[in-house]
């Protein structure tokens, strides 16, 4: 119970900070409206928790995630260039392929990060998620693609903390 209250207060402070950044107006009426919105949001979130009782776990290390994001940006730049070349070459993309990629992450958040990273790099789209692999569609499939995706999978697994998967 006390834990829940501390969580609520932290969430309220975060929401208030976000609201102050967004509005940039500091009048009494606006402050009152902002306070009311924050309280209403906390009330609704608290009430929604009774519906499923599903715990949201964030089992990822923050510095490892930042390091991964930097690496992801470089990958996005590379594959953007590859897809741009395909678009501007004037040829039909012929090596369309759909295949399965094994997933090794334990926590849900890391699996979501991996699936969204695949979709975010142009040329590959995550189509469906099964228990232990994703179905991925690639625009211009090459031999090394499976290795590149396995490398990305290992990197996402590396940002998980040790007790990942225990909560959910």
């Amino acid at each position: 119970m006390v834990n829940r209250m501390i969580q609520g207060i932290i969430a309220a402070l975060g929401l208030a900070a976000l609201w102050l950044l967004m509005s940039g107006l500091y009048k009494t009426l606006i402050f009152v409206l902002g306070t009311l919105s924050v309280l209403l949001t906390i009330f609704i979130v608290n009430r929604m928790d009774k519906v499923d009782g599903h715990k949201l776990g964030y089992d990822i290390g923050i510095f490892a995630t930042i390091k991964y994001l930097v690496w992801l940006m470089v990958e996005i730049a590379k594959s953007n260039w590859a897809v741009t070349k395909v678009i501007l070459s004037g040829k039909k993309p012929e090596n369309n392929n759909m295949f399965e990629v094994p997933v090794t992450q334990k926590s849900e958040i890391a699996q979501v990060i991996f699936a969204n990273s695949i979709t975010l790099t142009p040329g590959t789209v995550t189509v469906e998620s099964e228990d232990d692999n994703f179905i991925v569609h690639a625009l211009d499939f090459a031999e090394g693609d499976m290795d590149a995706l396995a490398d990305m999978d290992a990197r996402v697994s590396a940002i998980e903390t040790d007790n990942a998967g225990a909560v959910s």
């Binding site: 009430r47 897809v83 678009i87 993309p93 790099t121 179905i135």
Partner: protein, 132 residues
């Protein structure tokens, strides 16, 4: 204008022009590619490079102000929702049985998902009832 102003102007305009170029390339790809499954990939050029470079360029233009904070928040949200929307479109095509050539081995997955959805629907018609 001082030298620093010039550097800021030039950097921001390079980012904005490159972002616009990627938007146009994405649009060309969407028009030129022959079928649904390749067009999905053309859109993701717009989604990633175009969006990121335009936001970056506008951030440099705005400098250290509240506008930059808002732009960064917009960028982070688009960074997460863009691929999610792409996935939703591709997944909708997949589940409705619209598969690319040579992917017929995945039909079993669709059937499985169909069965699961029916069971889940039967089990909880109204998931919120009695809980609020």
């Amino acid at each position: 204008m001082t030298a620093l102003d010039w550097i800021v102007e030039i950097a921001s305009w390079i980012a904005i022009l490159m972002g616009s170029a990627f938007l146009i390339i994405g649009a060309i790809g969407t028009l030129r590619f022959p079928d649904f499954w390749s067009r999905v990939h053309a859109v993701s050029v717009t989604d990633s490079a175009g969006m990121l470079l335009l936001t970056l360029g506008m951030c440099i233009q705005a400098g250290f102000t509240l506008i930059t904070v808002k732009l960064i928040i917009i960028g982070v949200f688009l960074f997460i929702t863009g691929p999610t929307a792409t996935h939703a479109v591709a997944n909708a095509a997949f589940v409705s049985g619209f598969l690319p050539k040579g992917a017929d081995k995945f039909r079993r997955v669709i059937k499985l998902a169909d069965k699961e959805a029916k069971i889940a629907k039967k089990r909880k018609r109204s998931p919120l009832k009695g809980k609020l």
